[in-house]
Symmetry: C2
Subunit: 347 residues, 2 copies
DNA sequence: TTGACTTGTCAAAGCGGTTTGGATGCGACC
DNA sequence: GGTCGCATCCAAACCGCTTTGACAAGTCAA
């Protein structure tokens, strides 16, 4: 069923029907009512492609999400982020086009989507420390919003990020205040911008108390359950094991908890854990009382906000870039407690 | 840059350029080479919308994924499934259009995508026991592939499913063979088709040994960590607690494990756990030795396969429906062991 | 009655491709 | 030399919508 046929059934011209459905004022309310009713009963809906072609607006947003180099992992935060963004898009009748590409191939995907004219804007995921995407995005010329920040570029683009540095400094301070001195950091790949900022937050808190960071207590890599487990297990067998872990994702923290239990230790008593919590739906951090003490910020809310900003910028291209840095909540859970008495090797 | 301009630069007609890029034989190899090279250097790519309009093929597949009723959860298996499907689409130059809708609103979303002509096919997620989607999909008339099965309809559509019934029967038998008699089932909502089949597999194995199913040892609901924890915790405080848990998702099993530890029990010794494992990237089930004994099938592979089937059916509409039921692996992990001696209330 | 102004509707020109049905040029064959 | 076949290339007609500019009918003031 196309516009011409549908207009024919109604005894109106395509122009009038299009205007009626588009909400333009040049058509009487009476006619509009008849048209909209008929559209529903006949199941007529304007062809998206044709409408896009005519208006020049694709009515779609591109999300390019990277898998890891081995192609095997998709960060679970994407599901929640995309769900949040999708809520906003559907409200404004935008489509969401998802490209899953190998890590590092995002730029090519952006170009493809843009040159083929099938998106009006882009969401940029997972900015990295050496990211070259900024230049590419600029010469693509499409509006975009970054989830996180493109390092080395302060201005000229929109982003929504959490204050990773501050969150991890506060988390570290919390552990230091509890008397912990040997604190391990289990973090994402250092090439990821967020991981670098978290590392810096951790390091600055440690430096603030004059405590050196032991490289043996640092892990950077995929934030999987398995990696959390392995790193924690190995560190716990060190001659001077950590008394606390600062972890970058709840999934990884679950691996840490497993390692702690396997070592016959009690989380929150013998060993403390603080983690970052993205508030993923299926992976809640306990119910009334949080399991893990955590820095917390909803990635789904971030998805919603990124989408809102992007759509606003598409509607009003002159808008100044929106840059939001969200504070994380620091929630007390059952995974932290005072450092056990330090009976380590005396000086 | 549009076709006419680009052809102008090359001193060729739009027709020839289109044919050269489209791989048609009516153009000399020499010309084709020049055109493809120029396309890359000038960054020309045919407008997706215009091409779709002209060919009548949208070159896109729609995935409609439901959130839970409270809008707060997105099943993490979607991320892996979609990533698998996305691999196949990008290889064949298809786009993936994602709609996130409230649970139960999928049919409306299918209609919308189809009537607006912006997809050539649909992937149907999460079929439910009372599912009305079959009829709707039929009168939409677009090719589709179901991940799972539409209950009550044996034929006439394509699907990829795992043998849920058999997997859970085997898992139950394994526990029964270890001497367990009080086995709890922690499952998804019974309205989900897969949950019903798993329940049936469990029930048939129990019935096979003449062991009654205790309703107090059944949980059906969202398969979240929190629910797994709560259900297991409550059951473990019963006068006759279960000695084994059969669980429908790894995330839920993690909650069960937490409850077991909190009760001061050892998983694999005091209490056994068997779970289903979708092999999600970030949530591996241990490394060399699986943590959980599990029925296992990769949801990412299922995504790939569904996409392949769908694209094949789009290319050759006459094809008979493909119906695949995959066997799950049953892997031995550290979470199962012989039932502890039954010193319960003597007769 | 006439002209200006609304109001509601329409015909037709795009949007940027693909594809049909030629047109052109050139060598080969009879 | 005329005709045919083949290899290349092109003009123009779509695809289904939006939107510009025009038009008929009705309203109102002069």
């Amino acid at each position: 069923m196309n516009l011409k046929e549908f207009a024919g059934i109604l005894g109106l011209s395509p122009t009038t029907v299009s205007r009626a459905l588009g909400g333009y004022p040049e058509v009487s309310e009476e006619t509009r009512r008849k048209v909209t009713e008929a559209a529903i009963s006949h199941g007529y809906r304007p062809n998206r492609r044709a409408a896009s072609l005519a208006t020049g607006r694709a009515m779609a947003i591109g999300h390019v999400i990277p898998t890891t180099l081995n192609h095997e992992m998709v960060n679970p935060v994407f599901a929640d982020f995309v769900a949040g963004a999708g809520e906003i898009y559907s409200r404004q009748n935008y489509d969401l086009i998802l490209s899953v590409v190998a890590d590092g191939d995002e730029a090519r995907a952006y170009r493809g989507l843009a040159q083929a004219g099938n998106v009006d804007g882009l969401i940029v995921h997972g900015p990295r420390s050496d990211d070259r995407r900024f230049d590419i995005l600029r010469d693509i010329g499409l509006p975009y919003v970054v989830h996180g920040r493109l390092p080395g570029h302060q201005t000229g683009y929109s982003f929504v990020d959490i204050d990773n540095l501050r969150a991890f400094r506060k988390a570290t301070d919390l552990l230091l205040d509890l008397g912990h001195r040997r604190i391990a950091l289990l973090n994402g790949h250092l090439m990821m911008d967020f991981a670098r900022r978290r590392r810096d937050g951790f390091a600055s808190a440690m430096a603030g108390r004059g405590i050196p960071v032991d490289p043996a207590l640092l892990f950077f890599g995929e934030m999987s359950e398995a990696n959390g487990h392995r790193a924690a297990r190995d560190m716990l067998t060190l001659r001077e094991p950590p008394t606390a872990f600062l972890v970058s994702s709840l999934i990884m923290a679950i691996g840490v908890r497993r390692a702690i239990h396997e070592a016959g230790l009690r989380m929150g008593a013998d060993v403390s854990v603080v983690t970052h919590d993205d508030v993923l739906g299926y992976l809640g951090n306990g119910e009334d009382r949080p399991i893990f003490t955590a820095t917390r910020s909803s990635v789904r809310a971030a998805g919603r906000r990124c989408a809102e900003i992007l759509l606003a910028r598409i509607a009003q291209p002159g808008l100044a870039p929106a840059q939001e840095i969200w504070e994380c909540d620091l929630v007390q859970g059952a995974s932290t407690g005072p450092a056990p008495d330090n009976r380590g090797p005396s000086p």
